[in-house]
Every structure is written in structure tokens, then in C-alpha cells.
Amino acid sequence: MSLRELKVCLLGDTGVGKSSIVWRFVEDSFDPNINPTIGASFMTKTVQYQNELHKFLIWDTAGQERFRALAPMYYRGSAAAIIVYDITKEESFQTLKNWVKELRQHGPPNIVVAIAGNKCDLSDAREVSEKDAKDYADSIHAIFVETSAKNAININEVFIQISQRIPVIDADGSAVKGFKLRRQPSESTRERTCC
């Protein structure tokens, strides 16, 4: 079985639950009192997708403004970006749109964008309607899911959908999933991010 390394970065406003999503995906646990990420946190998880192993190299970035300037370092060379907003915070959805713009301008050309509306367990306090978000995601051809890291809703789903989308955009015309593609993303990742 071939192993592919997929670099994925999480972007989005502070406090929307990026780390919680990663934590749920990697460790299947949830900490309601999680501390704000400092800088960026790197984690990996390998999952089987069809007849391939996908090793996700996950860059969980800090949402705080002071780390904003570092973001290019993490999304550069990424195969996918998960942009997270909080369905109970309208402004976090606005921030998301800014991230989409930034990725358009400075991100890798074929980056897979996934939009995750987190905290869907708090639908009572909802400020962003699912339809609006879905329409927006469709307009930019992004994956869209509402998630809850707390209740483990749709977390794996995001990554599965990313896996599904990845091979299609791969180089050398090979649309066949899972064959001889493995080096491509990881090498470009490394070339561009390392010394």
C-alpha cells in the first residue's frame, strides 16, 4: 500500500476551534478548556483511504493576530487548507472570507479548501446560517461541512473529503487514484518550507 504525505493547514479566527478539531481528529479527545495555540502546532495522523495510506501532516496555526504574518509559512506547499469559523460568531465567518482571499492570492494554486463551520452543537446561538455558508463554499468550490469537535460530528468527514479531492488535482495527468502519486505533495512541501 502506498503512503502519501498530505500537508494540511488549519486557518481561521482565534477561538473558533481549530485545535479542538485537530485534537479530535488525531487523539479523539476534547478539552473544553484548551489554551490558545502559540505559534503553530504540528501533528500527524495516518489514515487509510481506499488502497492508500494518507499521512496528514497537520499544521494547526494560531488564530491570534500576532501570528498572522507567519501563516504563509504554513500554507505554502499545503495540499489542503481547512478554514474554520464558529457558527455562533458572524465575524469569524468574515475572517474566513479574508483567509480565502489570501489563499487565492498567495497560496498554492491547486490547494484544496475545506470550510468547517465548527461548534454546530451550539445551534441555539447560531449567527451564520448553514445555507449562506454552503452557498459561499459552493461559489469558491470548497468542501463544506458543519462540525462539532466537542460532539465529534463530521470531523473525520472533513479529512475524508480532502482525501477524495486530492488525487484529482495531482500533476502528471494521472487521474487514477492512489497510484504513483505519493512523492509529489510531500516533496514540494519540503522543498519550499525547509532551509
Partner: protein, 591 residues
């Protein structure tokens, strides 16, 4: 600082010491006592207030001589009255520095004794209001800063409540425009007018080409410090010396710099005077909270020295060797921490020739790691500035715990290369492998602080020893050693009390006007002896019944014991490596 909120009443009782048995050398202090009282009303120093890089302590040493109390002449008479009252109190001489100079505008206002000074305050307050309306709280506040972060804490405290006022030490950070940046207790928004008044005080005194340094009231010492565009204020009833409070504010300032760099703080405020710096510090309040807790509970910050975890020298050496072997270009420091204490640190040769790593920087780093659980998940890569090393540049820190999920042993690798994450992470793998091969984690988990009973000196309850006599050690990494605090200092209150006593001794030893070499101080519940020589600085705590001879003998024994245990207690020869001059050696790590 709302004067009405400042009760000159009974917020905290002064600790009662027994002044009857004081060594003769302390007589000098009494002289200094009355000296400083006259002056300590409102410390205005004739200096250019625009000097942001005013090195700490310079102003202070100028204290007794260059001070001009030209602003509040009148209250000094109140001072003298208060002074009499103070003298009646059975204070230890050392306490005098902080206890002296009672009358501030605040208490004067409450007392209604001094029309002039009341007027002064009223003027200041009016000015504060003007400032607030004029340049203060306007500015578009970012939606980001409204995001509530972290669990409920002191942030949500009601700032009008008595309990808020009762806090032993408040720390405020504000911008020159009077904008709140940080408050230890209560939300900054709720305190914006309070901070406005603080800034008004600062700028009022500035307008007379002076600098406000401190205000003393019955219960509180208020210390002001300006650093570039930031103003830091400590309001403390802890009876610490002004110098100590100032040092603490400097730590706070440096922790902020460690996150943003001095250069960018300056740039931001040059660009926009009423910028809301909380936008950039969002989520970092916990780090400042943690620092202030550390300042109150950990003597390493007072002593400006690093506390190492005691470790068999063979084990420490082998850990150092492991770190020395796992290198990559541009790696500058490799630091191994266990239980928030230093295990070993390896430093880049060339870098350390240029500038040494200051304990203060290490404290900021340790606090950053200890204050946030964010480091317990995954491998962290974050920019960090070491202000004493270079306040304007970032290092890139790789931070990862080696023993998840316990998370007690932490590896920190600092690189100058922003893009070096993967190669630095590779160093961690090597370190991990080597440590596994030697079963080092297991050995580290057995290491712990020691008990004073191991010294084998009866009557000795606790001590802090900071050596100067290992030239290499001192030049490269100032350290100190200290046993666990045990009964009767088991409870938090008692630990605080002992630390207060140490702080008091420390401030007397390091008094800028009358430094002392030896203090033998009999307090109610213990006897303390502090001693500074060219070779060490030592603070000891004995049971109250110890005699002077006994204490001297005990110290001789203690020094002998430390000498014997030196290799275990200290990093004797801080190891080094070389990563810059010959990068080919480690090119394997690069990609």
C-alpha cells in the same frame, strides 16, 4: 487609582517583626530611613522622559541624590507626621523602605488634611478625564479583541468590588494614549477610566519635564515605569521595595517584548498612537498572569538566577551530550526542562561569545511553557524574542514534550532560521532516540528537589544559595540552589510569608543607598541570616530559637555541604556546540 477607592484603612496588617535584636550594621538603615521618607512622596526625577531605554536601576540609584520633589512639596509635611506614626510601629528596619513615606495624594485626599495636595489630585483627575475623552478610549476596536478567551478567571472580576481592591498586587499595562493593555485582575475595558487616570498622572508629571516613579500611601506602593510607548504600573500592598516592584514590572514588559519584540511595539505606536495592543496580545493574558504568579511565588526571579533540578552529574553530562550531538545549522540553544526546572542547556559557541543568555530570558521562556497547556499537543513552532539577548529579533522555538501524556520533560530548541522546523524536528527525533537508548526519561523522572534535612544541620529550615565563585558558571548562566519549602512553610500563606521575609532581606542587602553585607534578623517566628560575599549570596532561615553562634556554625556546615554537592546542584560547565561555522557536518538534517 480612583482616589475614592483607595482606602487608607486597614487593608492588610503590617507584619510585626521583633526589632530588638538587630545587628549594629542596621543602624545605618535607620538613617536612610528618615532620609528617604522626606523624598519618597512623589518620585520625580529630572530626566528626559522620552528616553525609552532608560536602563533599569540607573534611575533608582539616582534616587536619593537627583530627586526633586518640586511637584508635591506640601505633602511632605504630611509625610513627617506619618513618619512619627510609623516610628511607633514595631517595624524592622528593612521594612522601612517600603513602609516609609506614607502620605500619598490618595491618602491625603481621604484625610482631607492637605488642601493643596487635594487640589493637585483634582487637577490631575480632571486632566485624566480630558485625556480620556480626547485621546483615550476612542479608536476603532477590532472585533478580535472582543473575543472572549480562556476559562473564567480574574478577568471577569467586578472591579468595583471590595475584593478587587483587596488584591495584594495589581499590575496594569497601558499605552501612552492611556489605552488599557493588560490588567492582572478585572477586565481592561472596565478599568479604562482607572488607567486613564494613571496615564494622566504620568503625563501631568511629564509635562513638568519630570518622571513619576512612585506614590506611597498607607497601604500601597504604586510604582510607575515607562518603557517606550508602554506604561506599566504596579499597585502593591506587599511591602516590597520600589526596586523590586520595578524589576517585576520589567519582567512583565519583557514578557510582552518576548511575544512582539520591542522594535515592532515601537513601530506600531509610531504608526498609530492609540493602537489597541490587546489585539496582538489576545490569548496571551494567561502568560502574563502566569508570570505574575511566578514573580510572587518563585524566588528565581527575585535572585535573577536559574534553578536547576538536582541531578547526578553523570546523568546531566550524558543528557548534555545527547543535545550536543543533535544539531542542525542555525540551532542556537538546546534546552531540556523537567518539572519547570532546568536540566541542562547547550549553547552555540559563537552566539554565546557575543551575548550571554540571561537568566531573565530563561525565566520568560520557562514561564511561557509553564503557563500554557498549548505546548502539550503536538510539536510547537513559534517565534519568540529573548529581550535581554536582543529585544528586536525573534528566535524560532521548537517546543515539544518528550513524555506525553504526563508532559513533565520538555525539549526546547531555538533556531535563528524561521524555516528550519523540519530539520529541528529531526534533531528532536535523534534526541528522543538517544534518550530512549539510555532510558534517560526514567532517570529524569526520579530526579527531584531535595529536602533541607539532607543538609543535616538542625535549626536550618530553608536557604537560597547563589554562587559567584564558579567563573565559567557565573559568566554563562547564573544559578542558585534551594531546597523544597517544607513545614512549617508547607502552606501557601507560610511560603508567601517566608518569601516576603527573603524579599525584605534582599532589598536591604541590595539597597542602592546603603547596601549591606550581612544581616542577622530575628523575626517573630524565625530567624534569618543573609550574607553576601564576593563568592556567593546566601539567605538562610532558622528556627526562632537559634543563637547567633549557632547560626554561623550552621552556615559553615551548609557551605561545606553545598561544596560537596556542587556537581549535583548546579550545571558546572555549561556545554556548548557549534552549528554555524561548520554546517556541513550536520547537513544531513537539512532537506
Amino acid at each position: 487609582m480612583d482616589p475614592n477607592s483607595q482606602q487608607s484603612g486597614n487593608m492588610e496588617e503590617v507584619k510585626i517583626f521583633d526589632p530588638s535584636i538587630l545587628p549594629p550594621c542596621l543602624d545605618q538603615i535607620d538613617l536612610a530611613y528618615s532620609d528617604s521618607d522626606v523624598l519618597s512622596e512623589n518620585h520625580c526625577v529630572n530626566e528626559d522622559h522620552r528616553m525609552p531605554s532608560d536602563p533599569e536601576g540607573l534611575l533608582d540609584s539616582a534616587d536619593p541624590t537627583s530627586e526633586e520633589s518640586n511637584q508635591p512639596q506640601e505633602p511632605s509635611s504630611t509625610d513627617m507626621q506619618k513618619l512619627d506614626i510609623d516610628d511607633d510601629r514595631p517595624l524592622c528596619a528593612g521594612g522601612s523602605e517600603t513602609d516609609s513615606g506614607k502620605a500619598s495624594e490618595d491618602s491625603a485626599l481621604v484625610d482631607n488634611g492637605q488642601d493643596d495636595s487635594s487640589e493637585f489630585v483634582v487637577t490631575v483627575l480632571a486632566r485624566g478625564k480630558m485625556e480620556e475623552q480626547g485621546m483615550g478610549m476612542k479608536g476603532a476596536s477590532s472585533p478580535l479583541c472582543d473575543t472572549p478567551l480562556g476559562p473564567p478567571s480574574h478577568r471577569n472580576e467586578d472591579v468595583t468590588a471590595e475584593s478587587w481592591r483587596q488584591h495584594r498586587k495589581h499590575v496594569f499595562v497601558l499605552s501612552e494614549a492611556g489605552k488599557p493593555i493588560y490588567s492582572r485582575y478585572g477586565s481592561e475595558e472596565a478599568l479604562s477610566s482607572t488607567m486613564g487616570v494613571m496615564m494622566a498622572l504620568v503625563s501631568f508629571v511629564q509635562s513638568g519635564d519630570n518622571i513619576i516613579r512612585s506614590v506611597y500611601s498607607d497601604e500601597h506602593t504604586v510604582v510607575f515605569m515607562q518603557r517606550g510607548p508602554l506604561v506599566l504600573v504596579s499597585v502593591s500592598s506587599s511591602r516590597q521595595s520600589e526596586q523590586q516592584l520595578r524589576n517585576e514590572l520589567l519582567y512583565v514588559y519583557n514578557q510582552i517584548v518576548s511575544m512582539l519584540t520591542q522594535a515592532s511595539i515601537t513601530r506600531i505606536f509610531e504608526h498609530k498612537k492609540n493602537y489597541d495592543l490587546r489585539r496582538l496580545l489576545a490569548g496571551s493574558e494567561k502568560i502574563l498572569d502566569g508570570l505574575l504568579d511566578l514573580v510572587d511565588s518563585d524566588p528565581s526571579l527575585l535572585l535573577c538566577a536559574v534553578h536547576c533540578l538536582p541531578l547526578a552529574s553523570s546523568l546531566r553530562d550524558s543528557l548534555s551530550q545527547i543535545l550536543q550531538k543533535a544539531i542542525t545549522p542555525n540551532l542556537v540553544f538546546s534546552i531540556l526542562i523537567a518539572k519547570n526546572q532546568l536540566l541542562t542547556i547547550v549553547q552555540e559557541k559563537m552566539v554565546i561569545d557575543d551575548a550571554r543568555l540571561e537568566p531573565a530570558d530563561l525565566h520568560l521562556l520557562l514561564n511561557l511553557i509553564g503557563a500554557s497547556s498549548a505546548f502539550q499537543a503536538g510539536e510547537i513552532w513559534t517565534p519568540i524574542c529573548l529581550p535581554s539577548f536582543n529585544p528586536d529579533c525573534y528566535f524560532y522555538a521548537y517546543i515539544s514534550y518528550l513524555d506525553p501524556p504526563e508532559c513533565t520533560v520538555c525539549l526546547v530548541l531555538l533556531s535563528t532560521d524561521k524555516e528550519a522546523f523540519y530539520s529541528v524536528a529531526e534533531c528532536k527525533r535523534k534526541i528522543e532516540e538517544a534518550m530512549q537508548a539510555q532510558n534517560a526519561l526514567n532517570a529524569i523522572s526520579k530526579a527531584h528537589s531535595y529536602s533541607v534535612s539532607q543538609v543535616g544541620v538542625s535549626d536550618l529550615r530553608h536557604f537560597m544559595y547563589k554562587p559567584f565563585d564558579v567563573p565559567d558558571n557565573h559568566r554563562q548562566l547564573t544559578q542558585f540552589t534551594s531546597p523544597e519549602m517544607e513545614a512549617p512553610y508547607g502552606s501557601e500563606e507560610e511560603q508567601t510569608r517566608l518569601l516576603d521575609l527573603y524579599r525584605d532581606m534582599h532589598s536591604r542587602i541590595h539597597s542602592t543607598s546603603r547596601p549591606l553585607k550581612l544581616i542577622y534578623h530575628v523575626a517573630e517566628r524565625e530567624t534569618l541570616l543573609a550574607w553576601v560575599t564576593s563568592k556567593f549570596e546566601l539567605y538562610t532561615c532558622f528556627s526562632p530559637l537559634v543563637t547567633k553562634t549557632c547560626a554561623i556554625n550552621a552556615i559553615t556546615k551548609l557551605l561545606r555541604w553545598i561544596k560537596k554537592e556542587e556537581d549535583r546542584l548546579f550545571i558546572r560547565y555549561p556545554p556548548k556546540y557549534s552549528t554555524t561555522p561548520n554546517p556541513s557536518k550536520s547537513s544531513r538534517d537539512g532537506h
